[in-house]
């Protein structure tokens, strides 16, 4: 829990700052409007699913750079098949589940059986899935047009709560995913195995844990969640272009996970932390659009600086604590 305090405080500060700057300066509920909060929550939900997925892989000491391309593959593939080629939606959705599972399995097998480095395997994945999507769609944009309103409710629907505010449906999906993964990590033997092998693969293997299987499971879940996020993204946005749909999302997901306390060396990470990291990045983007729209092209720089500040502060805090411990 200690690892999360820093990011939680940072999130709170940025949240309050945005609120004050956006609403106080304009004298209206800009940031704190139901509408904006809903939007914010929906975005956190979509990106959060990616972050949770990649955090599982990071816990094993690996990395997944292919997330964004899996988002692209599913996000483009689903409307391309369902609308462009008239395949029945249940079949398409089945494919949208099976394909990411197969991709994750492939990554896991290459990493465990062939002992290839995760960075390389998933970098190749990044290139291959996007290239393939661009190839089979011939770079055509795909979208649902006016159809599939029911399905699209999953991404843009809401459960009305009170005047002007409702809980976005994707947030419920995120809640489900986060809950399952959190329980998996903390309450089941498999979560414990994952944490153990991330810290010391040998210690886990020598204890009779089939570490290879657990690593494969992590990659499979990660790719599956990337596919799920890809589906929700396209249901939300309603159209996807192969050349750039999901571009860079892996980096934002990894950044969120790291901000949330995951160490790229493996063995640590919490779901709550990842959610806080995701929220921080999304609130920042919201802040820039609401408060500093003219500096919107510096968005990357601001996010980069905040992430850096976050990890530096975290490190300095850890050192201060260690020094105090040593002194006492």
């Amino acid at each position: 829990m200690k690892r999360i305090i820093g990011i939680a405080v940072l999130l709170l500060v940025v949240y309050l700052a945005t609120w004050i700057m956006a609403d106080a300066f304009s004298g209206r509920a800009v940031f704190m409007s139901g509408y904006n909060q809903e939007n914010l929550l929906r975005r956190i939900a979509l990106y959060g699913i990616l972050g949770i997925g990649v955090s599982l892989v990071i816990i094993t000491g690996g990395i997944d750079l292919s997330l964004g391309s899996v988002v692209c593959l599913v996000g483009v593939g689903v409307p391309w098949l369902a609308v462009g080629h008239g395949w029945p939606m249940p079949v398409v959705l089945l494919l949208a589940v099976v394909l990411p599972l197969a991709i994750g399995l492939g990554h896991g097998l290459l990493v465990t059986r062939l002992r290839l480095q995760p960075f390389i395997v998933t970098l190749c994945g990044l290139l291959i899935y996007r290239g393939a999507t661009r190839g089979f769609t011939q770079d055509q944009t795909a979208g649902f047009g006016n159809g599939f309103k029911g399905l699209r409710w999953l991404a843009n629907g809401e459960i009305p709560l009170f005047a002007g505010f409702g809980i976005p449906v994707p947030l419920l999906i995120l809640g489900l995913v986060a809950g399952v993964v959190a329980v998996f990590l903390n309450k089941t033997i498999y979560g414990r195995y994952l944490l153990a092998l991330g810290n010391s693969e040998e210690a886990a293997r020598f204890s009779g844990i089939r570490t290879d299987r657990m690593v494969i499971v992590a990659y499979v879940i990660c790719s599956f969640l990337a596919g799920l996020a890809g589906l929700l993204f396209v249901l939300d946005v309603n159209l996807a272009q192969p050349v750039d749909f999901g571009n860079f999302y892996e980096l934002f997901a990894i950044a969120a996970a790291v901000l949330g306390g995951c160490s790229l060396r493996g063995g640590t990470g919490t779901v709550v932390g990842v959610l806080a990291g995701t929220a921080l990045i999304q609130v920042l983007r919201n802040m820039i659009n609401l408060v500093f729209p003219s500096y919107q092209n510096m968005e990357y720089a601001v996010i980069g600086l905040v992430i850096l500040a976050g990890v530096v502060a975290d490190e300095l805090a850890k050192r201060a604590v260690a020094r105090q411990k040593a002194a006492s």
């Binding site: 409007s33 939007n39 946005v237 309603n238 750039d244 659009n289 609401l290 092209n297």
Partner: protein, 312 residues
């Protein structure tokens, strides 16, 4: 005919990857089939660096004629002249007047922007605040297009060389341009930009989407916000959702270029030039494929024609 032997090869090079170019590709293919020519369509996804290596490799292949949409004409003169030296060069969509290109096929983006501005004026005859959404500001065509909109709304004189930097509000007598938000072709971000605008400026009067996917993103956001119809929309290009929006009265209108025609005409011109026929080149070296405004009354006809071109 395949690319083997002595068959002449031609190429149509875009400035990026976009549905807009897919339409142009259809035009290229149609014309190529009609004239029994071998024309490759190349879309660089990696910006100017990739466009350069594509052109070099086309020259290597011994391509007879090339139609290019330069990413930044002023700085690509050398490259374009190299192409012109080894092949027949024409430009489309975006011109490079300082180069040795034979002719330019395209639209005047500044004028097209002013046409879009007129649509805004129709939508908001009393004046009001507007926000501009666009993919990037770097390429000439988008800069000119945006400037055209602004100049029209501020009733300024016709001056394509003017440039208002994107930061800050631009206030005119009747219209205020609240800002310009870019998204780098990230659809999710394009939508988020609209949402955040609705949060910050609840009384925004009109949303202007200048890249093909911007109007659909605007419509998505408006629908979710329950503001459809309350906020006006002015559009550019012919995304399906945009046309549907015009039909449903959600969009005031859209300015369409004619990318299909860019492709089609480019092939025809290349063919003529390769055969030594220079009559296709007008004196001002500009083949205008004018932009058009599509409103509710013309949308059905336009759409039918479009689908026919796309083979739908």
């Amino acid at each position: 005919q395949k690319s083997g032997g002595g068959a002449r090869q031609f190429a149509f090079v875009t400035n990026g990857v976009d549905p807009f170019w897919t339409l142009a590709e259809q035009g290229v293919k149609a014309a190529a089939a009609e004239n029994q020519m071998d024309v490759k369509v190349l879309m660089p996804a990696g910006g100017a660096v990739e466009q350069k290596s594509m052109l070099e490799d086309l020259l290597t292949r011994g391509t007879t004629g090339i139609a290019v949409s330069p990413i930044d004409a002023a700085n690509q003169v050398d490259l374009l002249n190299e192409v012109a030296g080894r092949s027949i060069l024409i430009t489309h969509d975006s011109d490079a007047p300082a180069s040795n290109r034979e002719v330019f096929i395209g639209v005047n983006n500044y004028d097209a922007g002013r046409m879009c501005g007129q649509l805004v004026k129709e939508a908001l005859p009393q004046g009001g605040a507007v926000m501009i959404f666009i993919g990037r500001l770097e390429q000439d065509n988008s800069r000119l297009r945006r400037q055209g909109v602004i100049d029209e709304l501020l009733d300024r004189s016709h001056d394509p060389s003017r440039f208002d930097p994107p930061g800050g509000e631009i206030k005119g007598e009747r219209y205020t341009v609240l800002g310009t938000l870019t998204d780098n072709f990230d659809r999710a971000l394009a939508k988020a930009n609209v949402e955040d605008t609705l949060s910050r400026f609840p009384d925004v009067g009109c949303l202007i989407g200048l890249f093909a996917y911007n109007p659909p993103a605007i419509l998505e956001a408006l629908e979710q916000a329950g503001k459809m119809g309350k906020v006006k929309v002015a559009a550019f290009d012919e995304a399906e959702r945009t046309l549907q929006g015009i039909r449903d009265g959600q969009v005031q209108g859209t300015v369409v270029q004619n990318p299909y025609m860019y492709g089609f005409r480019s092939v025809e011109v290349l063919k003529a030039l390769a055969a030594g026929d220079r009559t296709v080149v007008p004196a001002d070296k500009f083949i205008n494929v004018p932009a058009r405004q599509i409103r509710k009354d013309t949308v059905d006809e336009f759409w039918k024609d479009l689908n026919a071109k796309l083979g739908k």
